[in-house]
C-alpha cells in the first residue's frame, strides 16, 4: 500500500509535487465491454517492461454480453505478493462501480470517476475525489465516431500522466496491440490516450505520483503473461506437441493458444466432441509415443475420470491440466475455488494412484508444468496440474526463462526392442514400445485389464497385488526425489501456515505482516501434493499449530481437502483448517483473521494478531 513507505518530493517552482510510490493498488471498475482488462493488461506489461513487480486480479462476468467487471493492478518496485486487500486508487466508470467498490478504497485513497455517469458522495471526506468527464472527453477526442469505445484508452492516458509512467513504452505497447488492425483503430486509440494524458488533474489532485526505481538484482528481461499462458508455453517448452480438449471456462484459453501454437512446432491440438473423447484422444497420442496432454475445468475433469484410470492401469504418461472453478456441477464458472483436489487425487474408480501438482503463481505455472511433463514421462503415469480461475487470469511479470538451458526436445523412440522386452516389468519402470517399434519378441498390448508383465490379461490375485504395488511404489519413488519445500518466516514457533496453489502470495504476505506484528509464524507451500514430498514431519514438529489455508469448504468434519489429507497422512491433531467459499482469492486480512480465530480457540492466553 502507498502510505507507509511513500515520501513526498520537494515541489519545484510551484509545479505540483510528485509523490514517490513503492507500490500502488489501482482498481478499475466498470463493465466488461469497456475494455478495462485492456487497461489493466497494458499497465501490467508496462510494469514488466520497467522491471517492476506486478500482479493483477480480475473478475469477469460469466455472461458474454457484459456486466460489472473489475481489473485490479498492483505495481511496485519491490516484491508484489498479492493483488492487494485495499485499493489506493479506484477508477469508477459507473454508479454501480462506485457503489460496489468504494468500500475497497483505503482511507485517504483517490477516487477517479466519470462525472458523466457517477455521482459520488462528496461529503465523504475519507477519500480524495477526482471527477473527470471520461465519456464526454473521449467522444470529443475521437470525434464521436468511436462512441464510448475509447474510454479505456482515455483512462490509460490519464493514469499515465498521474503516475508519471513511461509514455514511450506505453505507446509502443499500444502500437503492438492495435497496429495490426486497420489504421483507424490505432489512430483512435492514440487520440483517446493523448486526450487523457493531456487532461490536467491539477485542480483536483494536489500531486502527481511516480514509482520508485526498481531494485532488481541482475535484471534480465521480464515477460508478462497470465497463468494460462504460462501453462501453455510451459507445455511447449517441455516438448509437448500433441493435445486434445473441449472448451470450458476458465480452461479454454490454453486450448486456444495450443491450437494456434502447436502447428508452428509441427504438432497438433484437436478440439473434440467432449471431454471423454479429449482424454481418450490425448491418450492415443501418448500411446503413439508422444508427450501428450489434455485439460479442462471441474465438470470436464469429472468426465475424464474413467480414462484417467485406464492411464494409471496401462501406465501411460499424460499431462492433464485442470483450471479449478467454483463447484460442484456448473457451479461458479468464473470464480475461484480449490475444491477439485480430492477428485484429482482419488476421482477414478479402483486404486488409481497418479500425480497431482499445483503451481503457486504465474511463473510457477510455467516451471511446474515443465516438471509435470518430466514426471509423466519418467514415471509413465498421468500427472494432473491443478491451477485455478484466479491464476488463470492473473497477470504477472517474471524473468524470461532461459530456454537454452531448459527447453526439451520431443523424442519419438522407435528403436528396436529386444527379446526380453516386457511392457509391464515388475522390477523396473514401464517404458512402452510405441507402435511402429520393431520387436524381436512378441508385440505388446497395452491394456486396462489387470495384466502380467507381458500385458496379457490375468485375474491372478498374486499378480493383481504385485501390479497394484508397482503402480503405487513408483509414486513413492517419486516422493523420495521431490525437494522438501522451504519454510518462509520463523523456522520454529507458534503457527505454520500451509497452503497450495494460488494462495501462495497472500499467505506469504500474511506471514510477513504477522511477523512484523511480533508473531512467530511461518509459511510452507506445497507444489507437489500427490505424492507429498518426504520430510514434512520434522517441519510440522517445529510448530505448535499447523493451519492449512484453502479456498474450499471445511466439509463435514471441519477440515478442508488438503487439511483432511495431511491429517490422514501425519495423524496430527494440531493440523487444522482455514477455509472459505466466497469464490474470491484470499485477502491477506482474511488469513490473519483465520489465524487469530483458530489460535484464540486453542490458547486463550495467547494472542497471535495483536491489535487487530
Amino acid at each position: 500500500m502507498v502510505s507507509p513507505t511513500s515520501s513526498t518530493a520537494t515541489p519545484e517552482g510551484g509545479a505540483p509535487s510528485v509523490e514517490k510510490l513503492k507500490d500502488a493498488v489501482i482498481r478499475l471498475a466498470g463493465n466488461s465491454q469497456d475494455g478495462i482488462q485492456t487497461i489493466g493488461g497494458f499497465l501490467a506489461r508496462l510494469a514488466g517492461r520497467s522491471d517492476q513487480d506486478v500482479m493483477t486480479y480480475m473478475t469477469i462476468p460469466s455472461t458474454i454480453s457484459g456486466g460489472p467487471s473489475i481489473f485490479q493492478v498492483r505495481m511496485g518496485s519491490g516484491e508484489v505478493l498479492s493483488a492487494g486487500d485495499q485499493a489506493d486508487f479506484l477508477v469508477a466508470f459507473y454508479q454501480h462501480s462506485y457503489e460496489s467498490h468504494i468500500s475497497f478504497l483505503r482511507e485517504g485513497g483517490v477516487l477517479i470517476y466519470d462525472t458523466d455517469h457517477v455521482k459520488p458522495n462528496l461529503d465523504d471526506k475519507r477519500f480524495v475525489h477526482c471527477g473527470v468527464a471520461i465519456t464526454g472527453l473521449t467522444i470529443e477526442a475521437c470525434g464521436g465516431a468511436a462512441k464510448d469505445k475509447g474510454k479505456n484508452m482515455f483512462v490509460l492516458g490519464l493514469l499515465a500522466r498521474l503516475f508519471s509512467l513511461k509514455v514511450d513504452k506505453l505507446r509502443a505497447l499500444i502500437t503492438e496491440r492495435f497496429g495490426t488492425k486497420d489504421g483507424d483503430v490505432l489512430r483512435n486509440a492514440f487520440l483517446a490516450f493523448d486526450a487523457g494524458y493531456a487532461y490536467t488533474v491539477e485542480g483536483l489532485l494536489k500531486r502527481y505520483y511516480a514509482f520508485e526505481d526498481p531494485v532488481r538484482p541482475n535484471a534480465c528481461p521480464q515477460v508478462t503473461m497470465d497463468g494460462n499462458q504460462a501453462i501453455a508455453y510451459g507445455l511447449i517448452a517441455a516438448g509437448c506437441r500433441y493435445g486434445a480438449a473441449y472448451p470450458i471456462t476458465p480452461w479454454s484459453s490454453i486450448m486456444e493458444i495450443l491450437r494456434t501454437e502447436l502447428p508452428k512446432y509441427g504438432g497438433t491440438f484437436v478440439q473434440c466432441e467432449d471431454e471423454l473423447a479429449a482424454v481418450s484422444l490425448a491418450l492415443g497420442a501418448a500411446y503413439a509415443g508422444h508427450l501428450s496432454m489434455t485439460g479442462s475445468s471441474g465438470p470436464g475433469l469429472s468426465l475424464k475420470m474413467e480414462a484417467l484410470g485406464w492411464a494409471v492401469m496401462a501406465e501411460m504418461p499424460l499431462v492433464v491440466v485442470n483450471i479449478q472453478r467454483g463447484g460442484p456441477s456448473t457451479g461458479l464458472p468464473t470464480n475461484v475455488e480449490q475444491s477439485d483436489l480430492m477428485q484429482a487425487i482419488y476421482g477414478s474408480h479402483g486404486d488409481a494412484p497418479r500425480v497431482v501438482v499445483a503451481p503457486q503463481n504465474v511463473e510457477d505455472c510455467f516451471y511446474l508444468t515443465m516438471d509435470a511433463c518430466r514426471i509423466a514421462k519418467e514415471y509413465s503415469v498421468p500427472v494432473i496440474i491443478l491451477s485455478d480461475q484466479a491464476l488463470s487470469s492473473r497477470i504477472e511479470a517474471f524473468d524470461e526463462p532461459d530456454l537454452e538451458k531448459i527447453m526439451v526436445k520431443p523424442v519419438l523412440d522407435l528403436s528396436p526392442r529386444g527379446e526380453d522386452f516386457k511392457p509391464y516389468p515388475l522390477d523396473r519402470m514401464t517404458r512402452h514400445a510405441p507402435p511402429g517399434t520393431p520387436m524381436k519378441g512378441a508385440y505388446p498390448t497395452v491394456t486396462g485389464l489387470e495384466h502380467d508383465e507381458g500385458g496379457h490379461p490375468t485375474g491372478n490375485p498374486a499378480l493383481h497385488m504385485k501390479m497394484t504395488a508397482k503402480r503405487r511404489d513408483k509414486l513413492r519413488q517419486l516422493a523420495a526425489t521431490l525437494p522438501v519445500p522451504e519454510v518462509c518466516g520463523d523456522q520454529d514457533g507458534d503457527v505454520l501456515l500451509v497452503g497450495w496453489g494460488s494462495t501462495w502470495g497472500p499467505i506469504r504476505e500474511a506471514v510477513k505482516r504477522g511477523q512484523a506484528a511480533g508473531q512467530k509464524i511461518a509459511h510452507l507451500h506445497l507444489r507437489h501434493i500427490h505424492p507429498l514430498p518426504n520430510g514434512l514431519e520434522p517441519i510440522f514438529a517445529r510448530y505448535r499449530q499447523v493451519f492449512v489455508v484453502e479456498v474450499n469448504d471445511e466439509g463435514l468434519y471441519g477440515f478442508g481437502q488438503l487439511a483432511t489429507l495431511l491429517r490422514a497422512r501425519y495423524a496430527l491433531n494440531k493440523i487444522r483448517s482455514i477455509t472459505k467459499t466466497d469464490g474470491l482469492t484470499y485477502r491477506v486480512r482474511e488469513i490473519l483473521e483465520g489465524v487469530r480465530r483458530l489460535s484464540g480457540e486453542q490458547t486463550s492466553t495467547f494472542s497471535l494478531y495483536p491489535g487487530a
Binding site: A244, V270, E273, A286, P438, G448
Partner: protein
C-alpha cells in the same frame, strides 16, 4: 529401461504364424473367429509389415481382438476406441490404424464418438462386429437388437426401435462404408482390402453371430442355412445396360436405398467418397504454420513469442 538391439534381419514374408498371438477366448463357434481369421488372411495377402499397423479396441467380446493379433495393439475403455485411435492416427501418419468393437461399443456408449470421428474423416479403419446383443455382459439388449428379441433386460422382448447401422453410418459422414458377414471369409477379406486402400474414415459393419446369446441371428444371409447372401454390384463404367443397374458408391441416396432394404439386406461397399482426411488437413495446417515461422528451430519460435511478451 528397455534394452535396444540391432535391427532385425531382413524381413521374411509375413505368415499367419507371425500374426497369431494369444489363443482367442471366444466361445467355440462365435462369429468373431471368422472375422479374426479373415483379418489374418488380409494382412498376409497385403504383406503389411508389423511396424505399419496398430490394432485397437474398446470393451466387449469383440473388443478382445487386440490380444489375438501379434501386432502393436491397445485395449482401451468401453466406447472410446474411436477417439483413442484418432489420437494414434493424427499423431502417426506412418501407421494404419485398425479398430475393432461391438455394436454396443460403437452405436451405444460410443455413438457420439463414431459420429464425430466419421465426420472429421480421420484416417483409420473401423470394424464393427455386430451381434445384435451384449455378449460380454451376457445377453442384455443392444442398440441393434430387433424388436421382440428377448434379453435379460427385456425379458418380454425388446420394444425400443433399433439403430439401422448402415443408415447411421451414412448419416455420420463416414467416407467409406461397407457391410459384410462373418460367414463370408472371402467377402470380408475383400472389404478389408478396400477399406485399407481408402484414405479417411473407413468402416465395415460385419454381422457376427453370438452363438451363446443370439444363435441364428443372421442365418437369413447364410446360404448353407437356407438364406441368401446378396452382394452389392458396383458400377464398372463399361457403358453396358447392365451397368446402369449397378450401384454407384458415391451416390448417397442410392446407398440409403440399399440401407433401407429388408433383412437380410445386401453386402458390399455401400458408399465411398474422397474428401480430404483430417490427417491431410492438419498436415496442411502444420505446413502453413511452419512456413509462417520460416521453419525456425522450436527454441527460436518460443523465444520469438517471449520477446513479444516483454
Amino acid at each position: 529401461m528397455s534394452s535396444t538391439v540391432e535391427a532385425p534381419a531382413p524381413r521374411q514374408p509375413l505368415k499367419k504364424k507371425d500374426l497369431t498371438a494369444d489363443h482367442p477366448t471366444w466361445c467355440p463357434g462365435c462369429g468373431d473367429f471368422a472375422v479374426l481369421a479373415s483379418f489374418y488372411r488380409f494382412l498376409e495377402k497385403a504383406q503389411i509389415p508389423h511396424e505399419k499397423i496398430v490394432v485397437l479396441a474398446g470393451i466387449g467380446c469383440s473388443s478382445r481382438f487386440p490380444y489375438f493379433v501379434n501386432s502393436h495393439s491397445g485395449h482401451f475403455i468401453h466406447g472410446r476406441s474411436i477417439p483413442f485411435a484418432s489420437g494414434v492416427s493424427l499423431s502417426r501418419d506412418d501407421l494404419h490404424v485398425f479398430v475393432f468393437g461391438g455394436d454396443g461399443d460403437g452405436f451405444s456408449i460410443g455413438g457420439n464418438h463414431l459420429f464425430h470421428g466419421a465426420r472429421k474423416n480421420i484416417n483409420l479403419t473401423y470394424v464393427i462386429m455386430d451381434n445384435s446383443v451384449y455378449g460380454l455382459t451376457k445377453k442384455q439388449t443392444s442398440p441393434t437388437s430387433p424388436i421382440g428379441f428377448k434379453t435379460k433386460t427385456d425379458p418380454t422382448g425388446a420394444f425400443d426401435r433399433p439403430v439401422n447401422p448402415m443408415k447411421a453410418l451414412l448419416a455420420s459422414g463416414a467416407t467409406f462404408i461397407a457391410r459384410s458377414h462373418a460367414a463370408q471369409v472371402n467377402h470380408m477379406v475383400d472389404m478389408y482390402e478396400r477399406a485399407y486402400a481408402h484414405k479417411g474414415f473407413s468402416v465395415i459393419e460385419i454381422l457376427s453371430e453370438c452363438v451363446e446369446f443370439y444363435p441364428g441371428a443372421f442365418d437369413a444371409a447364410v446360404p448353407r442355412k437356407g438364406g441368401k447372401f446378396v452382394e452389392v454390384q458396383l458400377k464398372k463404367g463399361d457403358g453396358t445396360p447392365d451397368d446402369a443397374q449397378r450401384h454407384d458408391p458415391s451416390d448417397a441416396d442410392a446407398a440409403f436405398r440399399l440401407a433401407n432394404l429388408e433383412a437380410p439386406g445386401v453386402y458390399g461397399v455401400f458408399y465411398q467418397v474422397n474428401p480430404p482426411s483430417k490427417n491431410e488437413l492438419e498436415a496442411q495446417l502444420v505446413a502453413k504454420s511452419r512456413e509462417r515461422v520460416k521453419h525456425a528451430a522450436h527454441i527460436d519460435v518460443l523465444r520469438g513469442t517471449f520477446a513479444r511478451m516483454r
